[in-house]
């Protein structure tokens, strides 16, 4: 982003404020704060409504809006009880499945993508640009197009490889496959930004690729990796489609979202417990997001804006 701002030359003297301080001043004005508070309130209202709904009894939920709770505050834990114990399989099983699915599905693409990004950014080999563009272009392949062919490969693998269907492998693999193009692209852009002098200095000191990668790149890339990690975590945690298609046929592989999708019953006549279900499944991503959010914004900007 290099927009020319004539009144702020690069070597500005004292009386001329820098772009950063102008932005700082404008954003901290009372009006800006006021607007931010209004927006934050508006954006939070639906979540508050959902939260209140999750504690209201079935009849109230079905006959009146959540705002009427303030005039007739009936509170019940029935919805949460139903969510936690309402099916043959314990909710904890789905919870554990979600975790078992999510962690490798985040770690596998990150590991592969940081290595690939390093190679694309700092190693010279024939066909590098072509390969990078090919990886980049794969972002536009829609998941839905790949489903049946990919599942066919899992069920009936070529070259006499063992069959994979019916295991966590298929879900981990699929998530990794779908995540890699974006991961490589984001991390590559971030890595490209590291000044070349740093790498050269390390070379002069006798460092090879492995040492440069582990001692220089990995520490510098921590925010970007964390940002992508949150991205991928939220995507996998909230995913229903991949789990249904590739884990299909086996309740032992079903994550929380599968249970959530079926919470309201065969003909949707139990929809009052959906709000409680939403909150139960929201806890983990919320904790992850809040604890890592500063990386989230920083890494996001680093990767995407300076392409």
């Amino acid at each position: 982003m290099t927009t020319t701002t004539p009144e702020v030359p690069a070597t500005a003297t004292a009386p001329v404020p820098t772009a950063a301080s102008v932005a700082h001043q404008k954003l901290t004005s009372p009006w800006a704060s006021f607007a931010a508070i209004i927006i934050a309130t508006l954006w939070t209202i639906p979540t508050i409504g959902l939260f209140i709904s999750s504690f209201r009894p079935e009849e109230d939920v079905k006959t009146s809006g959540w705002w009427t709770w303030f005039s007739s505050p009936n509170v019940t834990l029935e919805n949460y009880h139903e969510v936690l114990t309402g099916s043959d399989t314990k909710l904890a099983t789905y919870f554990v499945n979600s975790i078992v699915i999510t962690i490798p599905s985040v770690l596998i693409p990150i590991t592969l993508a940081t290595l690939a990004a390093y190679a694309f950014a700092w190693m010279k080999f024939p066909g590098r640009d072509f390969l990078f563009v090919a990886v980049f272009a794969m972002q536009i392949v829609p998941i839905q197009v790949t489903m049946i062919p990919l599942l066919k490969l899992y069920v009936d693998p070529p070259f006499g490889l063992p069959q994979l269907a019916g295991k966590f492998w298929t879900i981990w693999l699929s998530h990794s496959i779908f995540a890699l193009p974006l991961a490589i692209y984001l991390l590559h852009n971030f890595m490209k930004e590291v000044p070349g002098e740093l790498i050269e200095a390390a070379r002069v000191d006798g460092a090879g690729h492995v040492r440069i990668f582990t001692k220089i790149m990995l520490p510098l890339m921590a925010p970007a990796i964390a940002a992508f990690g949150i991205f991928q975590f939220l995507w996998v945690w909230n995913d229903l489609l991949v789990a249904l298609v590739f884990g299909g046929g086996n309740l032992d592989l079903s994550p929380l979202t599968v249970r959530l999708a079926e919470l309201s019953g065969t003909r949707d006549n139990d929809w009052q417990i959906l709000s409680a279900g939403a909150f139960v499944s929201l806890i983990v991503p919320l904790v992850v997001f809040l604890s890592l959010q500063r990386y989230f914004v920083r890494g996001l900007l680093a990767g995407s804006v300076k392409g």
Binding site: V133, F136, M147, L151, P158, P162, W235, G248, L251, L300
Partner: protein
């Protein structure tokens, strides 16, 4: 995350996209293949059950008294201990509990284990799984149209064994067998059923006001006028159902088509031997409009005619409980939508349902309904044994007993009405077993998906909100796929 991807892409890659299209395809293929090779190597072997092979030995339950009713299943298929049957259905918790309980007799007598999986994405997922070679052993298919598609496009559905055919010939009518048959071959016996030709009402409200249950369509309209004169809107309806909004309206049209023109014309209409905008269909839809688009009659408890389109079908009949509406046409399964504690009974109940009256006495007693069909995808003794078990009268009665809160109906002639729990289910079973009843399957489930699960829903919703009968029917006719 996909949003972010798209944004990045559209900002930076639009130009490059065109030049790399061909290469992208090749590279995508290479990477997917190589990734699966690398990781497949680490996967270890899978435990996929082997199909086929005849199970020898004697079934563990052969000597037990409670297993006597399914002796023929046990003697034919032998010992099935350790075998698994994977069942895939659209019935999810908590309604799946009666299903699972009704398999217990089979499991203890034959030794096989039934692995039950329910999913609300069943209809889409089943096609994906069958096409990719990962089908369940048994699936309960709710639409004969879907069964036909699966048979014709995948060829993976296994023909029913003789034991199943014999059961169906013995316990079900010819019309039911027809819906499980594709191109002259019988594949899928019926599992359960529901009756759609019902009008829900409040027996208390009717008794208090001295209203009587109408037996002809004209009597029903007279009653509607009487009720309207008291200031109550006599009818309430809701056709909202997410992306399937409009389906309750198709049931109205089918019910009236069946009543006005009889089963033969109905079959022609469903098979597109007469056009969708035939004058007979238009007359039927206008008859429906006489109620649903009559501002004097609807929409009790909700508002004007247009509110029918925005009210969800789950809520559609609830105003009956508050006395704001007198009648609601909906299937037997609507019983589950009334809140817990509602008394569903003919005498002094809060709600009950009567048979939707006939319009034309010459056409007998038509019944519109739907149901699930049991399709098998694996040729193995345990799968055939289970399919056979489900088609017996024993299972129907077991299922009735396992469903204490109601919600199970079957057209199985061997089902004892006293084994069915709720009053409305008993009424449904009686209607299905009535020798004068002419059963027809829900037409929109038999039509091609583009019509029965597409334009018909959409156009009938538009019709409710003001489109003319002629326009709506012509548009549906135009959408019928050429073949």
């Amino acid at each position: 995350m996909r949003d972010a991807e798209n944004r990045i892409w559209s900002r930076e890659g639009a130009v490059r996209m065109r030049s790399t299209k061909a290469r992208r395809g090749a590279a995508a293929f290479a990477i997917v293949v190589s990734a699966s090779i690398v990781l497949a190597a680490c996967g270890g072997s899978s435990g996929g059950g082997g199909g086929g092979g005849s199970a020898g030995g004697k079934a563990p339950g052969l000597a037990k008294a409670e297993c006597a009713p399914i002796k023929s299943v046990m003697t034919e298929y032998g010992d099935l201990s350790g075998k698994h049957v994977k069942v895939y259905t659209s019935v999810v918790a908590p309604e799946d509990v009666p299903q699972k309980n009704s398999y217990k007799l089979f499991e203890s007598c034959t030794g096989a284990t039934v692995d039950y999986e329910g999913s609300k994405e069943f209809e889409a997922q089943l096609v994906v799984r069958v096409k990719s070679g990962n089908p369940p052993d048994i699936a309960y298919i709710p639409q004969p149209g879907l069964l036909k598609t699966l048979v014709q496009t995948t060829g993976k559905v296994i023909e029913a064994p003789k034991s199943v055919v014999d059961n169906v010939d013995k316990w079900f009518g010819e019309d039911w067998k027809k819906y499980g048959t594709v191109d002259g071959k019988f594949y899928a016996p019926p599992l359960d059923a529901n009756v759609k030709s019902f009008v829900w009402y409040s027996p208390k409200m009717f008794a208090d006001n001295g209203w009587t249950i109408p037996t002809t369509w004209d009597e029903m309209l007279t009653l509607s006028d009487t009720i309207a004169a008291t200031g109550i809107k006599p009818w309430c309806a809701g056709i909202g159902s997410g992306e399937a909004t409009g389906w309750p309206a198709t049931d109205w049209l089918e019910d009236v088509m069946l009543r006005d023109n009889g089963p033969d014309v109905y079959d022609q209409w469903v098979a597109h031997e007469i056009p969708f905008n035939d004058p007979k269909v238009a007359a039927a839809l206008d008859r429906v409009g006489g109620i649903l688009k009559n501002p004097k009659y609807v929409n009790g408890g909700f508002g004007d005619v247009k509110s029918i389109a925005t009210t969800t079908f789950q809520d559609g009949g609830l105003p009956i409980l508050d006395g704001k509406c007198a009648m609601h046409r909906q299937a037997s399964f609507y019983a589950a939508n009334f809140p817990a504690g509602t008394k569903i009974a003919e005498d002094g109940g809060d709600v009950f349902a009567f048979y939707l009256p006939v319009t034309n006495a010459d056409q007998g007693k038509p019944v519109l309904g739907a149901g699930n069909f049991i399709a098998a995808f694996r040729d193995a003794p345990e799968v055939q044994a289970f399919q056979t078990y489900l088609s017996t009268d024993t299972w129907a009665n077991e299922k009735g007993k396992a469903t204490p809160n109601g919600g199970f109906v079957s057209a199985n002639k061997g089902l004892d009405v006293t084994n069915v729990a709720s009053a409305i289910d008993q009424e449904s079973v009686k209607i299905l077993q009535d020798p004068n009843a002419v059963f027809r399957f829900d037409g929109s489930d038999l039509m091609p998906g583009a019509v029965g699960a597409g334009s018909e829903w959409k156009e009938l919703t538009a019709w409710i909100t003001g489109e003319s009968t002629k326009d709506a029917l012509s548009k549906i006719e135009d959408s019928w796929p050429a073949s």
